[in-house]
Amino acid sequence: MTAVTTDPLASGTQPGWRRWLRRHGWTVGVWLLLGALIGYYSTLIPAFGSFQVASIVNSGAPLVFLAAAQAVIVIAGGIDLGVGGMLVLTNVTAARFMEGQPFLATLLIAVTIIILAAAVNAGVGWIINVSRVPDIVITLGSLYFFQGLALAVLPNPGGGTSELFRWIFTGSRRGIGSNPYPAIALIAIVILGLAWWLGKTRSGLSLYAVGSNKTAAYLSGIRAARVKIVSYAIGGAFAAMAGLATTAIAGRGNANTVGGNLTLRSVAAIVLGGVALTGGIGSVIAVVPAGLILFFLNPILSAMGVDPNRAQVVQGVLIVLVMMVTGLIEWRRRRTT
């Protein structure tokens, strides 16, 4: 959880790499865990190749984008239960309007949906600011609202999209294939862009400032209310990315998907990725492998011959164990320092 602890006193006395490891230890750890899991998976099944990699990346992409959305909002000190609803809403909206359209039209629709989702979620952030009601309550309301709106947009599962649009997210015109590179490139570009903005720009860093201490940030000249709205807007845009990815993979929209469950998985993913739910701490780079791991545990466990229901149990136990270990590390660190 202390992935981004910046301690000016300690930094002068430690060698550079140790300081780097201390700051980014969690990120490195989660990536190594993902690598180890993929390595283990490749020994479990006879034919491990690009098809498996593609299926992991493609199917994991929505959760990765959704976790990134949640991460941005949580880093800025909020929490958005509505992201799952936004995923479902953008999924069905895309599927409804993209059906039968040529590629350029679908691309235009996708951009419009992302902008609209950002605007709508910015409105949610605005309501939180004005009403002074806790984030979790307002976004509980927005979760229901989005889910209901999704049902109104597309009452029955269906819709469609263009083949090239599916290719962007899946590397295949039919949604299934053995070409993981478009999805990897898309995730890399979008997430690295987000990480750069969060970590290197004034506006991005202000999210960390507001998340770790709202009053201090406000007193040092940051417009805390505006930062909250920005974080929700970006969260909305990333939830829309997750929804579009879902449309591309499934080739259709389904308003009966339970958005609440998706939200809960996004929260589990960011916690596994080292983002503190109290705000101000965490990195979106670590959220990517965390989201993939959460998704990836299912195929691993089924390859190990574990019953899918028991796989769910194992997944829950693993999450708890990881959290206990983190708590233990944190506790020991606090005792030594």
């Binding site: 309501i127 009403s131 002074r132 009601v133 806790p134 979790i136 309550v137 307002i138 509980l140 309301g141 927005s142 979760l143 229901y144 609202f145 989005f146 889910q147 209901g148 709106l149 999704a150 049902l151 109104a152 009452p155 609440g260 809960l264 929260v267 589990a268 916690v271 739910l277 019953d307 229901n309 028991r310 796989a311 769910q312 149990v313 194992v314 997944q315 829950g316 136990v317 999450i319 708890v320 959290m323 206990m324 708590g327 233990l328 506790w331």
Partner: protein, 336 residues
């Protein structure tokens, strides 16, 4: 809640301006529950205008019957939210408890109910150990517990619980039956009894004070000698038991169990506590408010059903009303 605003802190320019309206405004700020009572009455009247038959014993009885499980689940949420916690596994605990009750139903109601309660105690205590002893974030701990229980009961539903989907007649009466000429549901009696217990626990007992203290300031309460892990362990276990009781009532009302039995009640149970003015950050809230929250949600449910607008509009209205009510409540309480 009983503290009146002191005149010394009054920001008004002179006392003459204190009209009756302002005084009543200040009264509402210190007693925000009356706002909820007002909202509840208005909602009941609106529902009565949409469907005149609603304003009858059987109409209101249905709402009360619907409110009981939400209210009992929300009791668990209220207790935990006071400690800055939450239980996302409570609906799965309820479903699991209902499975146990159905499984033991041929062996008589006592075994069935005890078995169900044991599910709640075990799952709740595990949550409590995770949160209290190992300091796992409550959101994550209970979320993981929910996944674990879902996996276990999905598997067991096909193996050891296979075929046991019918509830004992006693439990069916408890969950869906009524007495006094079909006017008062037994489930509401159970809920009322539990409500008295919870209100007493929160207001009068040392345990209740510890809950508030822990949620208000963990460090301060620990320094003043509260063994936080014991309080949390007890709180999560109690929430588990409430989950189990709600599961028994729900299973009894439906008459059969399946894995989706209580899932839809999870977010309403949080919403009821939140509408009732319990802070998600701990230390603030009462069960009386939560009861009103549960009743409002139940009346709302009837209203949306009578409107016949379809699930889409129902969910959108539901979401908007959660936002609107919590906004109103915060606005009124903030003027204090």
């Amino acid at each position: 809640m009983s503290v009146d605003a002191t005149p010394a802190l009054d920001a008004g320019p002179d006392p003459e301006q204190q009209t009756a309206l302002r005084r009543s405004g200040r009264y509402l700020a210190t007693h925000p529950h009356w706002v909820l009572v007002f909202v509840l009455i208005v909602l009941i009247l609106i529902t009565g205008m949409i469907e005149p038959n609603y304003l009858s014993v059987s109409g209101l009885r249905n709402s009360a019957l619907f409110a009981a499980p939400i209210g009992i689940l929300a009791a668990g949420q209220t207790i935990l939210m006071l400690t800055a916690g939450i239980d996302l596994s409570i609906a799965m605990i309820a479903t699991g408890a209902a499975y146990f009750a159905a499984n033991q139903s041929p062996n008589g109601p006592v075994l069935a109910i005890v078995g169900a309660l044991v599910v709640g105690i075990v799952a709740g205590a595990l949550n409590g150990v995770g949160v209290g002893v190992f300091q796992v974030n409550p959101l994550i701990m209970t979320l993981a517990m929910s996944g674990i229980l879902l996996g276990l009961f999905t598997e067991w539903a096909q193996t050891i619980f296979a075929g046991s989907t019918r509830m004992n007649d006693f439990i069916r009466t408890l969950g869906g039956g009524s007495f006094f000429g079909g006017r008062i549901p037994w489930a509401v009696v159970v809920w009322a009894t539990l409500s008295l217990l919870v209100v007493y626990l929160l207001r009068r007992s040392g345990f209740g004070r510890n809950l508030y203290a822990l949620g208000d300031n963990t460090v301060a309460s620990r320094l003043s000698g509260v063994r936080s892990w014991q309080v949390l362990l007890a709180a999560y276990t109690i929430a588990g038991v409430f989950g189990a009781i709600a599961g028994i009532l729900l299973g009894g009302r439906v008459g059969a169990v399946d894995l989706q039995l209580a899932g839809v009640f999870l977010l309403p149970s949080v919403a009821a506590a939140v509408i009732g003015g319990t802070s998600i950050f701990g230390g603030v809230g009462t069960y009386t408010g939560t009861i009103l929250g549960a009743l409002i949600l139940a009346v709302l449910n009837s209203m949306l059903n009578f409107l016949g607008v379809g699930t889409a509009v129902q969910q959108m209205l539901y979401g908007s009303i959660i936002i609107g009510l919590s906004w109103l409540y915060t606005r009124i309480a903030a003027t204090q």
